[in-house]
């Protein structure tokens, strides 16, 4: 259930970091004569200038590369602003008798209301995450000092999960239930 954009961020940061390390190490190696007597050679020798001057396509290629990088960076930048929350959920969309669209807030309200009725639960927050084709649900349940975690878990498994399955008409709803335990109240699990 890890967020896709976070995986992309890690991969791209690793690629950029690796390129910088390799390029920087190469520059240092050239400057410290690790590659023979190149340390006193010019960074841009005359042959490079001649090549650029004689090939008019060179700057077009650089410009095309810059456009490509700019477009990719814009996409990467906007991806940071995306959230994976869903506001609506299509159920029964493949049936001939029309489609049923559920508001995420309505599902969340119903589930939260049901979970709050369980003894020992002080708050519940439900979120629908992912895309229309691949989504999952995250239910965060805050327990209070009266809570017996195993009883709460049992109620959630026997009551909330089947009800959610029925409401969404899915056999496999992909649900993560996060329990937040009561803290520092000298309370023990029964």
């Amino acid at each position: 259930m890890k967020n896709r954009i976070d995986r992309i961020n890690r991969a791209l940061l690793a690629v950029v970091g690796l390129l910088l390390v390799v390029a920087g190490a190469l520059v240092i190696a050239l400057g410290t004569s690790l590659f023979g007597g190149r340390a006193d050679k010019q960074v841009i020798p005359p042959s490079v200038s001649t090549f650029i001057r004689d090939n008019s396509w060179y700057w077009w290629a650089v410009a095309a590369m810059c456009v490509l990088v700019a477009v990719l960076m814009l996409r990467w930048l906007f991806a940071q602003l995306q959230t994976s929350s869903l506001s609506k959920l299509n159920v029964r969309s493949d049936r001939r008798d029309g489609e049923t669209v559920l508001e995420a807030a309505a599902i969340a309200d119903a589930v939260e209301h049901e979970v709050l009725a369980i003894s020992g639960v002080s708050s519940a927050t439900m979120r629908l995450l992912g895309t229309a084709s691949s989504h999952h649900h995250k239910l965060t349940v805050l327990l209070d000092e009266r809570a017996d975690i195993n009883t709460v878990r049992s109620r959630l498994s026997r009551q909330t999960v089947p009800n959610l399955q029925q409401a969404l008409d899915f056999d496999d709803p992909q649900l993560q239930i996060r329990l937040a335990l009561p803290g520092r109240r000298r309370r023990r699990v029964a």
């Binding site: 190490a25 004569s33 960074v43 456009v67 195993n150 709803p173 520092r184 699990v189």
Partner: protein
């Protein structure tokens, strides 16, 4: 969102902005040069002349190389660093359903258990996937078996949570009286 993920997003946005800015400036400068206009930000003639006269052992060139290595290593660190898990999984055999307990709440819960032991004034807990470390403070001059009692109490309560991966509970007792 965990702090590590937030940092990754901020760094990713900064890197994207820097590369976007560099690409945009280069594009504008190429266009201006093609039109025979004077440069906008980077005077390419001066830059080209400067690079023609610099050699690889030049201090600035090596400084640029070292800077690239440092920034690259920082980016690799951000990319590969695994922060503490935000949640610890609980045992479950229901298909499609995952039960987890938030790490922060588990730490606070375990600290509460430790503090409930007679002789413990305060306790702090750090939880990882396979290890829970409890640091308990006591005013007792002779803590006796306090470490064992705290360890047994915390381990028993964590055992009752049915965590998916068994955790080792390590306890250290600090005497605040000294």
């Amino acid at each position: 969102m965990s702090p590590m993920r937030a940092i990754n997003r901020i760094v990713a946005a900064l890197v994207a902005l820097v590369l976007l800015g560099a690409s945009a400036i280069t594009l504008v400068e190429i266009a201006l040069a093609a039109l025979g206009k004077s440069p906008w930000i980077v005077n390419h003639t001066t830059l080209a002349n400067d690079l023609h006269h610099r050699v690889w052992q030049d201090g600035w060139v090596r400084f640029a190389g070292a800077s690239a290595v440092i920034v690259g290593l920082l980016l690799l660190y951000v990319a590969f660093r695994r922060g503490a898990p935000t949640d610890l999984p609980l045992q479950t055999d229901e298909p499609g359903v995952t039960f987890t307990v938030t790490r922060k709440s588990l730490e606070s819960y375990a600290a509460g258990i430790a503090e409930s032991e007679t002789g413990v004034d305060s306790a702090s807990v750090k939880a990882r996937k396979a290890r829970v470390t409890v640091t308990a403070s006591t005013m007792l001059l002779d803590p006796g078996d306090l470490e064992q009692r705290v360890q047994a109490a915390v381990a028993a309560h964590l055992g009752n949570l049915h965590l998916a991966h068994p955790v080792n509970t390590a306890v250290s007792v600090r005497n605040r009286g000294n």
